[in-house]
Amino acid sequence: MSAALSIAFHGVAYAMVLYLISVGLSVTMGLMGFVNLAHGVFAAAGGYVMTRLMNGHGVPFPLAVAAAFVVVGAASMVVERLLYRRLYGADELSQVLMSVGLIFMSVAGAKFLWGPLAQPMTPPDYLSGQIDLGFRAFPAYRSFLIVAGAVLVTLLWLGLERTRFGARIRAAVDNRRMAQSIGINTTLLFTWTFALGSGLAALGGALGAEILAIDPGYALEHLIYFLIVVAVGGLGSIRGPFFAALLVGVTDTGFKYLLPEFGAFFIYALTLGLLLWRPQGLFGRA
């Protein structure tokens, strides 16, 4: 019982991080049709911004997290305009290789600037230690992660439902040409969507720095998990990746806890089976 609870708890915390990072990727791949392997770069960048600000300049945690969102979101707009934009509608191979190039550069850049080691992440005092819920004590930071993740997810979903920007994104995902023909400026929309997705990834990277350590290899190391979440969730879907992240987070935590001798084998096998059963993912349109 306590093992199951523990797996669920840590799995959900992990899932929140996975979702925050991957939702932007789902939209880039679904809306812009871009096979973007470099999405993890933005998550790593968020982690670096936060840890550098906290460790190097004593900036308080909430401020550092907010800065990660803003800085990375803004920087990603530049990258989108300079690079990604050129390859919308290009073949997959070009997109794959371009984003691999981006990963290489960022990995090297991070190593050069901040060294090969992981950036230490120390949660603020009020989020350290354990929270006792009577029947059981939970690590405070991970509990916070689950709550913060849930709040952000709710905000994101509400925002996409209730705002004009959200309506436009949904319209464009549904039918790009239709959206253009009713006068939505998709060029601008893409840039803002890309920035939002990257900003969210930065949030995920920053908040999740305690689970996925911020080091130069981050973007490559965890890429496969981001991709799994998106592919299983369904391209272009906003909610799909959330359930996929829960599935991946909890099963992966479970398998690693219960059957460590098999490593990540099961999660790969599961993904393989799932994609053969539903090539469009769980929530993708056939």
Partner: protein, 330 residues
Amino acid sequence: MTSETAAPLAVEALVRGHRLRLVEIAPWLIGGLAYFLFPDYLALGAQILIGIIFSLSLDLILGYAGIVTLGQAAFFGAGAYTAGLLAAHGWGEPLSALVAAGAVAAILGLISGAIILRTRGLTLLMLTLMISFMLQEAANKAGSITGGADGLQGMAVWPVLGVFHFDLYGRTAYLYCLAVLFLAWLAARRIVHSPFGRSLTGIRENEARMHAIGSPVFGRRLVIYTIAAAFAGVAGALLAQTTQFVALEVLSFERSGAGLIMLIIGGVGRLYGPFIGVPLYMIAQDRFAQADPVYWDFWIGLLLILVVVFARGGVLGLADQLRRRLRRTR
């Protein structure tokens, strides 16, 4: 009357690729000369030749048939472990092991291809990744068989043809790889210029049209996927035999990715892309990467972006453009 002049012209264009041109001897001249000119670099030379075979396998599926894969290392690794395990368990005869490795990889390609090649786009990409990750994870955890993260040791490879011992200078290794590459090249050349090869190009150019003219698209893709897997398996076996060691890395995403990068630098969808891209990349890597791997990664990343954005045809594409421009100014 005009069609009489147009006819030979168009037919000529069709068969031209197949006729052997003088420049096509160049790789073999260079490969042969290098043996005498750079006796100290034969180990690197063998690695390059192996890399070319691997890249050639990618070129066949990706450049010609348009199947984007990120998991080609699965077949490379399958071949490497086949040859490695045979040699570690008492069968060190290299040629038969090479054939066995190619066969194992081909079977793996056939089975996995039959399962995944019905999908397209990101799904296919993910499936190729999943298969190679699963294999790597399996090889990692099956340490009692594969040696796991420590690598497979204790290989004893017998002399090639019972005569040529693998020596410390890598002479035998180099010539052995050169000979196998030559055979691979003959096969690949034949494939790409055959009607079958042209139909692969057709699938890449316009799949809907291929279906509409009654082409069994799935079958054709499966055949080339299997052939390419065999190529990759042979390359992996060569690596195992010439280094007498198999590391987990043979199955890694990094290997699949590096093969892609070298291919695009040389020129994807061209028979000679691997012959240009692989030596360029690996020689540069040998020169610069040891000195400073951080800079190396950075510049390779930048180069990759530049190639994709500005020179999609790679070095050979640039050469073509140059030639065309020269002809126009003349």
